[in-house]
């Protein structure tokens, strides 16, 4: 069991000590670094293949269908076929497009996704680079996606793309605020921005028990950050065709598709890391726990996507600025109070106090909302 628990860490240790017999230290480090990168890329590709298949099978089940089942067992090779097709497809650059920007955008869009992977702790000791500002780094790097999508929307010189690009900018910038604010609660609890220490801080109790509201806010804004339904306005099929990637074909479109899936997976893994205790868990090896939790949250994403209709752009912005941001601020304030009041009184007090505090906030929100609804109703009757 212990062997399985630390399988990949031991493997890399063994390999580096094996290589050290023939090679100088710098070469060993270089090789190990390259191997890490390669394994991350392989992980990404396998994940995409699996996620794509999972999503298409799940939507099938949601809609009383089978989903792909012709290529490979249960259709699992579907993404391989898609990839072969997309890579051999003609690559069209529209005559009116801004060539440089148009071609640059799909490259830029995948870069941040790979960069973010570097700081994710996949298991005990399984992190490519344990930055002490890990979370800050993630926030900073993932905002690059916004630029890439805006470039795509602008460079295509297509009105639908432009509308999609503009929507992305408005949406992603707005939702970054509640996302970071909700994650601040977790950072307050651990006192560190490093994802590894955040995971280690949850060895006794996952932060979702201390921060249920924070988790909820994070989850909602994360769904919006990766443009998934019900916040998929930038590529709203029924309104603006395919949004910012309307004009992209073949490989470049595959890049956007890849970035979309992997981003969704990354926000699920970050949610798992911040709130569900990352790789912590009994019995199973840590990396399996991590993947299970990430897929669990990803399933929630899919569930939302296949059930809910889409919000409108003004409602979307309203939800972020009028609801999530104030709620996240209140949550942060209350969390600070709870932490100060329960300092030194043990973990159980802290958990109970946070649950009560969160319950109070929810009750307050429900009351205010109900009151507003009642007032609107009475006012309508009056007029």
């Amino acid at each position: 069991m212990a062997f399985l628990n630390d399988l990949f860490v031991n493997l890399s240790k063994w390999l580096s000590s094996f290589l050290a017999q023939f090679l100088p230290t710098w070469a060993v480090e270089l090789i190990m670094m390259l191997l890490t990168i390669v394994s991350l890329i392989i992980f990404v590709l396998v994940t995409i293949m699996f996620i794509n298949w999972l999503e298409r099978k799940t939507v099938g089940r949601f809609q009383d269908r089978y989903g792909p089942n012709r290529v490979g067992p249960l259709g699992i090779l579907q993404f391989v076929a898609d990839a072969i097709k997309m890579f051999t497809k003609e690559d069209i650059t529209p005559a009116n497009a801004d060539r440089a920007i148009f071609n640059l955008a799909p490259v830029i869009v995948v870069v941040p996704t790979f960069l973010v992977l570097a700081v994710l702790p996949f298991g005990r000791g399984m992190v490519a680079a344990d930055l002490n500002i890990g979370f800050l780094y993630i926030v900073a790097v993932s905002s690059l996606t916004t630029i890439a999508i805006l470039l795509a929307g602008w460079g295509s010189r297509n009105k639908y793309s432009l509308l999609g690009g503009m929507r992305v900018v408005a949406q992603m910038i707005s939702y970054e605020v509640p996302m970071v604010l909700s994650a601040l609660g977790v950072i307050m609890l651990t006192g560190s921005l490093s994802l590894v220490s955040i995971v280690e801080g949850q060895s006794r109790v996952p932060f979702i028990l201390l921060q249920p509201l924070g988790f909820l806010i994070y989850f909602i804004s994360a769904v919006a950050e990766v443009n998934r339904a019900p916040f998929d306005l930038p590529e709203a099929e029924s309104e603006i065709i395919a949004g910012y990637h309307t004009e992209y074909s073949g490989m470049k479109y595959a890049m956007f598709l890849l970035a979309e899936y992997i981003n969704a997976f990354i926000v699920s893994s970050i949610a798992a890391t911040l709130f569900l205790g990352g790789w912590q868990g009994p019995l199973l090896p840590p990396y399996l726990w991590f993947i299970l939790k990430a897929y669990g949250i990803y399933f929630l994403l899919m569930w939302l996507r296949f059930t809910l209709p889409r919000l409108r752009i003004d409602q979307l912005m309203g939800l972020a600025w009028k609801f999530l941001v104030p709620l996240a601020l209140v949550n942060l304030l209350v969390m600070g109070l709870v932490m100060t009041l329960t300092q030194g009184r043990g973990l159980i007090t802290l958990v109970l106090a946070s649950l009560v505090a969160n319950g109070l906030i929810v009750a307050a929100v429900v009351t205010i909302y109900g009151f507003a609804k009642w007032r609107r109703k009475t006012m309508r009757v009056a007029t």
Binding site: V59, F62, Q63, D64, R65, K159, Y160, L163, A229, P230, D232, L233, A236, E237, S238, E239, I240, I241, R305, F306, T307, L308, P309, R310, L311, R312, I313, D314, Q315
Partner: protein
Amino acid sequence: MQRMETGLRTETITVNMGPQHPSTHGVFRMIVTLDGETIVDLEPVMGYLHRCQEKIGERNTYLQNIPYTDRLDYICSMSNNMAYVMAVEKLAQIEVPERAEYIRIIMVELTRIVNHMLAIGALLNDLGCFFTPMLYGLRERERILDLFEMASGSRMMCNYMRFGGVRYDLPPSFMAELKSVVAALPAFIDEFERLLTENEIVLVRCRGVGVLPPEKAIAYSCTGPLLRASGVDYDIRKVDSYSIYERFDFDVPLGRNGDVYDRYLVRIGEMRQSLRILEQAIEGIPEGEISVKLPRVFKPPEGDVYHRIESPKGELGFYLVSDGSTNPYRYKIRSPTFINLTVLPELCKGHKVADVVAILGSIDIVLGEVDR
């Protein structure tokens, strides 16, 4: 050049939605002028599916026109059949046997359920539901299409009704199957409602969007669920009762606010009322003849006649001018969705792009009927 007072110079952009657009329900085109995401102006352009139906109607004999009516509103072929054959029956004064009337009512009410299922599914699709409600609707629709196939031999283009009756009698197993479908449908409608009616996103997307006041609805000649959602109690089955509708006990669901949400509710209500009619029709259907014998060369007398029925989408009327020969002299189709579209620009102004597709979805157009 709006919003000069804020110091920002902004321009409106013109976006062309269609004729190939995922949510124009076919080949409809809208030229939309946008200020940011807000609609300043909207101009519908149609005719991308103009198939010369009225000219063909003049070329064909009266009988040959029945299959062409199937292809008008290709979701509800049965009610198109009914409108046309009833117009011809009025022209030639043909009496229809009792059993045939019942069969027609059963078919037309089934068609209404099919249409509203698809209409709600398509509306939710336009709201961005990733096909799920649509496919649930289609799943149940298949069972009703099976019934059509049992009776007429075809799933969609039924071509089932004839002057003075229907083409075939119902097969022996039909009534049992119909009973089981009718018994199963309320559960399905309940499921639909559980999914959608109280759904918070559906509420915020649909309430107060595309409000059509009753005066405007009447002035713009709107009919069908679009009119009744505005609270105007006008159902041709009640007002200008045709066939044997006065024998059935059913209500006309009405909306209050005339917005997209009320149109959705009216459609749900109409499905339930159609089920009520179906239950009564199953009870009351007699044995007997299914059609009257007509001469091989059918020549109605001279004159002109207009007959209208309450098709699932609104008032479907046929205006026929006969010169006593085998073909109509003039064959005019008063299609409900074409005329309901007149009000579309009025409904959309001031709303967002996303609302346009919702409003269009709630009007429930079928291009085969709009363009004919």
